[in-house]
């Protein structure tokens, strides 16, 4: 028995080192006192962590990525919550079809979505790249929104809203007064999942970049092609901390993992 425990800790230790190790390395490589990316770093300092905040293009692309993640997810929820509700509560004609259409963005590779929107929305219809990015990110998050909200609707008994209707609420009132408060956790979880997915998204945004418009991950990619300093490592570590903090807080407050 003792031996088996040792064996399983060895397996887990090796797996977790492989999964988490690179992240630890990035944190330290970013904290180098030297001028080039290396591990172990040449002395420790916070200068690259501070430099990140002074790079102008990082600031602009951070704002863009933040905006896309927040507004894209909100839009996906505005579209997705009613859809999930309808698919969950009513037997609709063609609901399988609708399910497939709404889930499609998860199946189609992101790079193709980006290219298709660039070629058939931006170029001929004169949409700006920012708007196309917004659409692409909304479409990308939509399947997650529908799925997560659906699973929390599943846990909600429908007789509660029936009761509300019997007591004189309209259907719409019943939705806002009874259903929405009860699936709040699911909606927030969908928001966080959508936010993290959108913020870290690369392939969709690859083609959707234009003069002055670049999402943060794409900007980091081009920065690291030009400059060989540890600031991209520092920025990566900061962003990772941000994502992890958000998810950790969500788990503590909402039991995030129940919904995902």
């Amino acid at each position: 028995m003792q031996f088996r425990n040792l064996g399983s800790w060895l397996i887990l230790g090796a797996t977790l080192t492989f999964l988490i190790g690179p992240f630890i390395i990035i944190i330290f490589a970013g904290a180098s006192a030297g001028n080039s990316l290396a591990f172990p770093p040449e002395g420790l300092s916070l200068k690259w962590y501070l430099k990140v905040f002074t790079v102008e293009s990082f600031r602009a692309s951070f704002v863009l990525s933040m905006g896309l993640a927040i507004f894209g997810t909100l839009a996906a929820l505005v579209l997705g919550v009613p859809a999930a509700y309808a698919l969950n509560r009513y037997k609709l004609p063609g609901d399988e079809m609708i399910r497939t259409i709404v889930a499609a963005p998860i199946i189609v590779p992101g790079i193709i979505v980006g290219l298709a929107l660039l070629r058939y929305l931006v170029v001929p219809l004169n949409f700006t790249v920012t708007v196309a990015l917004f659409f692409a990110h909304t479409a990308l998050i939509l399947p997650y929104a529908v799925r997560v909200v659906s699973s929390s609707l599943n846990n909600l008994r429908s007789d509660m809203e029936e009761a509300a209707v019997l007591l004189g609420c309209s259907r719409v009132q019943a939705f806002f007064k009874v259903v929405l408060p009860n699936i709040r956790g699911g909606v927030l979880s969908a928001f966080i999942l959508g936010f993290v997915t959108s913020f870290n998204q690369v392939p969709v945004s690859l083609f959707l970049s234009g003069p002055g418009v670049r999402t943060l991950p794409i900007d980091m990619l081009s920065y690291m092609e030009i400059t060989y300093d540890p600031s991209v490592a520092a920025l990566s570590a900061l962003l990772a901390f941000m994502s992890v903090a958000i998810v950790f807080a969500a788990e503590r407050l909402l039991g995030f993992s129940r919904y995902v």
Binding site: P22, F23, A104, L142, P217, M220
Partner: protein, 264 residues
């Protein structure tokens, strides 16, 4: 009615543009034909890239399944208190930007990186081994990126195995190999199908990892697509690659489901 806005949005701003892109390779010189596909596969480079993508996808998914089973089995058998923490550490990398996760491999696999320092230090080789811009580098990067998806799928599948099934089989004299093939595998195959599809599809459609760790010498379909469009405005090749990627993802799912139902 309530589902309509979502469906219309997904149709107009997503499905329609993607469909037009996919149809592009069939519309050569104004008429419908398969010439785009014939031309694409006539080029040796394109065939190599296609086969390499397929190979790496299968290798990554296969390796992830092996590691995934071992890790998931250990996780499920942990005491409840530690289990949540370990599971959290497995999920953690999924929250970190793939740019950051891939970037780390440059430091690890470089000539002066820790892997090479270890190889030279241990006397396994006199000179550092070239690891960056090789298939090995891309393989490791992809495995690290997608292994968590496999572990998560398998852990939730294994939670459904009755608690005493394995000890009972052991008491009755079954070897661990028999336990795996007779009990664990049949009861977790749905998790394997989900995990396998996710990992395989993820490996096919990752861009950053092959771009940074593979470069122009280890092109994969995704990086080839980017290059064809960016250098030559070659939308026919882009359309063909797009179709291949979608067909490959779907077939992977079908094949895995087939295999799963054949086993019983």
């Amino acid at each position: 009615m309530l589902a309509l806005p979502a469906a219309v949005f997904a149709c107009l701003l997503f499905l329609v543009p993607v469909m037009i892109l996919l149809s592009e390779a069939f519309r050569m010189d104004g008429s419908w034909s398969l010439q785009g596909y014939v031309d694409f596969f006539a080029k040796p480079l394109n065939r190599t890239v296609f086969l390499r993508t397929l190979k790496l996808g299968v290798l990554v998914a296969g390796t992830a399944a092996i590691i995934g089973y071992a890790a998931a089995f250990c996780i499920v058998n942990l005491p409840a208190r530690t289990r949540g923490g370990v599971f959290g550490l497995v999920v953690l990398p999924l929250m970190i930007s793939p740019v950051a996760r891939t970037y780390a491999w440059i430091v690890i696999l470089g000539r002066t990186g820790i892997v090479n320092n270890a190889i030279v230090g241990l006397g396994l080789s006199d000179t550092p081994v070239r690891l960056l811009f090789t298939e090995t580098a891309v393989f490791l990067g992809l495995l690290q990126l997608f292994l968590p998806l496999m572990i998560i799928s398998l852990v939730s599948a294994m939670e459904n195995i009755p608690r005493d099934a394995i000890p009972a089989a052991r008491v009755l004299g079954a070897s661990w190999v028999q336990v795996f093939f007779r009990i664990i595998l049949p009861l977790t195959k749905e998790g394997l199908v989900v995990g396998g599809t996710l990992v395989f599809t993820g490996a096919l459609t990752a861009y950053i990892t092959p771009a940074i760790l593979g470069g122009s010498k280890v092109l994969m379909l995704e990086t080839l697509l980017y290059q064809r469009v960016n250098v030559a405005n070659d939308f026919v090749s882009a359309s063909v690659i797009a179709m291949i990627l979608i067909v490959m993802s779907f077939s992977a799912n079908l094949v895995l489901k087939r295999l799963a139902s054949a086993r019983t």
